[in-house]
Each structure stands twice: as C-alpha cells, then as structure tokens.
C-alpha cells in the first residue's frame, strides 16, 4: 500500500468516495517519460488506458505539450504502444492560435520549432503580443530580449504562455519548463501572463466541456491524474475536479509537503490509479 494514501476501512481511497464520471489524464510523466529516443512508457500505463476505455469511461488527455502537433503526439505515443486519437488530446497551441485569431493579434512566437506547425499561416510581422512555450534551446538571452521588447513597446502588453510549469523530467534530468521564463518576462515588464494550458481554469473547463460534463452540476464528478502538483493537481482542484498525483514522472517526495496544494490522493502510478477506479468506482 502506498504511504500517504488516506483510506477508509474497506480500502477505498477518499478520492473515490463519490462516483467519478469523467477522467482527465496528463500525458508526460503519467503515460510515458519524455527523453532522448522518443521517451519510454511508464510500466502498466498502456494497459491502464486500455482498461479505462474498455470500461466505457470518458477520457481526455490533457497536456501542455507544445513541442509537437497533436497528431505528432499521437504518432509518438503510438510508437510506445498507446492507441490514442488527436481528438482525445487537449493541448495549448491550438487554443492559443484560436485566441490570437479572435483578438486579431500578431504574435512573437517563442516556442519550439516543432510546435510552430500549429501556427502555420498566422501573420507574425511587427508582433504586438508574445506567446511563449517550451522553447528549450531557443530560450536564449536574445530571444528573451526580443519578447521583452515587444512587451515593453506595447501600450497594453499581452503575454500568453502555454503553461506555467516550473520544471519537467527529460531522460534522467530535470529541466526548466516555461514557468520560469514566463515569470522572468512578467517581472521584467510588470505584466501578468495569461496561461492558456494547465493550470488555467479555462483549460480544465474546456476539457470538461469536451466530455459533456457541466462544471455547475456538482453531482457529475471528474478526476485529473497527473504528476505535477501545481499544474495538474492544483489546477484541477480549483475547478472542482479531484486531483490525484502519481509518483512517477516529475514527482518528488517533497511534493507531499507542498505548502498550498494537497492532492485528493496519491497513487504509485497510473496503473494503480486505474485498478482503484475499476475496483471502487
């Protein structure tokens, strides 16, 4: 039994005390660990997803992945044994593009080259807003300066970020995520970024809408399972979605002492979560 999981006498974890209808799953750190050669499957996760779908659950994959298109992600996960379709995936780039088009903005895109495909055809001349994503090696001083100047030159600076994560795991290394770079620009220009991926409420509410769960209907419940204590667990909980943290991916034991976010439960991995759902829900 996993330490830290509060259980009632019959072994039912508290996060399954009330029936769950919708299931939101994080991808990186839950289905697979990213890294060098396309990454590696987290043991048991392929079967766990199959079992959930076979049991008829509405599942959506909620990711802040912005370094490939949704189809690119489907292909990548396919190579690892997962059978997903693009329509089951919610990711920030398509959401950002929609917002930029609606507001007729011209973005300075500080994102990974593979994520740029989602923005094909957008007018990026004389940018008047900044969209920042997981640019990794493109987070150079000069690129950050470029973003900084667009914001500084704008009367009403708009800074969008695909996420606000602090770091993620790649291979055996932890690497800086978008959050720190977003924070740097916020600090430099006295602006507040608009987060379009997790942990933004708009993202989670969009995910619920996608599986026809009304956030107003408190009797219909959903759970979010992720490895990020703030982005996944905290973000979901703020939308009345239960947040469960897996002890895979970027999970660190210190997370269990997080000052503000207390998950509704912990599980060792996705397979363990799915076993509990299938047994008790």
């Amino acid at each position: 039994m996993a330490a830290g999981t509060i259980r009632e006498e019959d072994g039912r974890p508290t996060w399954l005390c009330r029936k769950i209808h919708g299931i939101l799953l994080d991808i990186s750190g839950v289905l697979y660990n990213s890294g060098g050669d396309g990454g590696s499957t987290i043991p048991g996760s392929v079967e766990a997803v199959e079992k959930l779908k076979a049991a008829g659950y509405k599942v959506r994959f909620c990711t802040n992945e912005d370094q490939c298109t949704r189809q690119g992600l489907v292909d990548k996960l396919g190579n690892l044994g997962f059978n997903l379709s693009a329509s089951e995936i919610l990711s920030p780039c398509p959401i950002g593009r929609k917002l930029i088009e609606e507001r007729k903005l011209r973005p300075y895109l500080l994102i990974h080259p593979s994520g740029l495909l989602e923005f094909n055809g957008l007018d990026c001349n004389e940018p008047n807003c900044v969209l920042i994503g997981g640019a990794e090696e493109l987070f150079t001083y000069e690129n950050m300066n470029g973003a900084f100047r667009v914001l500084l030159d704008s009367d009403d600076p708009v800074l969008m970020a695909t996420g606000y994560g602090r770091y993620y795991k790649s291979g055996s290394d932890l690497k800086l995520d978008i959050g720190p770079f977003t924070k740097a620009l916020e600090f430099a220009c006295d602006v507040k970024a608009e987060i379009i991926g997790k942990p933004a409420a708009s993202f989670f509410l969009g995910a619920l809408e996608d599986i026809n769960i009304s956030p107003e209907d408190v009797s219909i419940e959903a759970v979010m399972i992720g490895d990020d204590i703030v982005s996944d667990v905290g973000g979901a909980q703020a939308c009345n979605i239960r947040g469960v943290q897996v002890r895979t991916g970027k999970f660190r034991t210190q997370d269990e002492k997080h000052p503000t976010v207390k998950p509704d439960g912990y599980v060792d991995n996705l397979a363990a979560a799915v076993d509990l759902i299938l047994k008790y829900n």
């Binding site: 987070f139 300066n145 602090r166 800086l176 924070k183 600090f187």
Partner: protein, 256 residues
C-alpha cells in the same frame, strides 16, 4: 547630543563621479574628509565591472582611493562565498569574474548571478537550477529588471534570478545595497557602529533608505540619478539633503 561621527560610507557612481567624469569638487572634498581622520569606505552596487577595473577608472580621473576601502556588491558576494566556503557556479560577465579569482569552482555547491547575458541561456540556467534543487544557495548581486545597452533596453539579472527562484523555490540572497548585511559588513570593517556612521549617496532608495533603515545617518546628494523630490518618497526622511558631495562633506565637518 547625538553620537560622535566616526565613519563615513560613500557611494561612487552618481555621488563622486559619473562614468569618467568627476562630479565637481569631489576630489578636494574627499581629501578634506580624509584629513579629519574619520574612517572612510566606498560602497557600490556593481555587477559588470570588477573592483580592479573600477579602481583604475577612479584613479585615472584623479581620485586617491585604495582597493581595501572599496566595498562592491561583487566583493560582498565574494566575501559571502569565502566565509561559507562555497564553490559557486558563477553566472557573471568576464570582467566581474575577476573578483572571484582563486575561488574553487569545481563541483559547485552554490549559484552566484550577476549581469551575464552570455550565461543566460537554457543550458546554463538548467545547470544553475539543478544545483538549487539540490539545496544549494542562490546569491544575487542585485535584482535589476533591465538596463540600457547600445541598441536599446535589455534584460538585467533580476528576471533571471526571479526565474531561478520560481523554478526551484529557493529565495535568492541579494547582496549589495540596500541589504542591511551589506552596510553592516562595511561598518564592521571600519570598526564603527550605526549611530556614529554617515552614508552619502544619490540613490534615495538603495543608499539612503537602506542606510537609514538600520540607523545610519543618510546624506542624500542631488547629483547622479537624484530626481526632484526623491527625499519625499522615502518612508523616513534623510538625515540631510545636500547639493552635492562637497556640500555633504562641509556639513559633516561641522559634526565632528
């Protein structure tokens, strides 16, 4: 009767010089102040320029200032590193690195951040971040947001320090003015206490506010970055507001 004045802290840029120009009367005034026998230290926030480079500049324009009298935010960081026997990863410009000559930087157990555009890339920031996550301390020379360079405004160290703080949940120890520890260190070197010390500077917030906060008498000079009414924006008014450094010295001489 107030405590007798025994020590004077003096800011450099904007107070006695601006780049390679002496603020008129400052060389003479400094001589005069020395003749009184009070202890003198120079306290300055630098991030790009090593103490050597700074001293050369001051000497070249005619000041008689010795290395051991100058206390910079970089040397404060250096002292901190020496004192705690840290092996820092240095995110510093090449000239600033001179102030860390001889420091053991193998298998680092601390991170020091100054103004270092060449170091603010993904790889270096990741390296710093991993050290912080392992519990290493983060030392910031200061947290300025941006600065002016040839082609316009550019990001200062502040945003990158903030990025590392956010990523690692480690709060940076900022050295230099207006940190109380910075002033306190200069005082202990002079062998003076707060009540018997004066700080002369052009920065109302960092020089005067910082000094007054720990009981040092602040003399705000109306040169350098001083802008009309700066003294009124402070929580506690400065002990004195003077036209320039020479005027400040004149007033101090009457207090000895």
């Amino acid at each position: 009767m107030a405590a007798k004045i025994r020590g004077v802290l003096i800011d450099l840029s904007g107070t006695i010089h601006i780049e390679n120009t002496v603020i008129p009367g400052s060389i003479q005034a400094l001589k005069r102040l020395r003749q009184t026998g009070v202890a003198i230290r120079f306290v300055t926030n630098t991030t790009k320029e090593s103490k050597d480079t700074l001293l050369k500049r001051l000497t070249n324009i005619g000041f008689d200032i010795k290395a051991e009298e100058v206390f910079t935010s970089l040397t404060a960081a250096r002292r901190l590193v020496d004192h705690r026997q840290l092996r820092p990863l240095l995110l510093l410009g090449s000239d600033a690195q001179q102030d860390f000559k001889g420091v053991d930087v193998s298998s680092p157990n601390a991170v020091v951040v100054g103004l270092a555009p060449d170091c603010f890339d993904y790889e270096m920031l990741n390296k710093a971040f991993r050290l912080l996550l392992d519990g290493c301390p983060l030392i910031a020379i200061h947290k300025v947001r941006y600065y002016k360079r040839g082609d316009g405004l550019a990001l200062g160290p502040g945003p990158f320090v903030t990025a590392l703080e956010f990523a690692s949940d480690v709060k940076a120890e900022v050295v230099g003015k207006p940190q109380p520890s910075f002033f306190a260190h200069a005082l202990s070197e002079m062998g003076c206490d707060m009540q018997s010390t004066i700080m002369i500077g052009d920065d109302a917030r960092d020089d005067i506010g910082g000094a007054e906060a720990i009981g040092i008498k602040g003399f705000l000079v109306q040169t350098g970055k001083y802008r009309d009414g700066d003294e009124n924006r402070l929580e506690k008014p400065p002990f004195a507001v003077c036209r320039d450094f020479a005027a400040a010295v004149e007033q101090i001489c009457t207090m000895l």
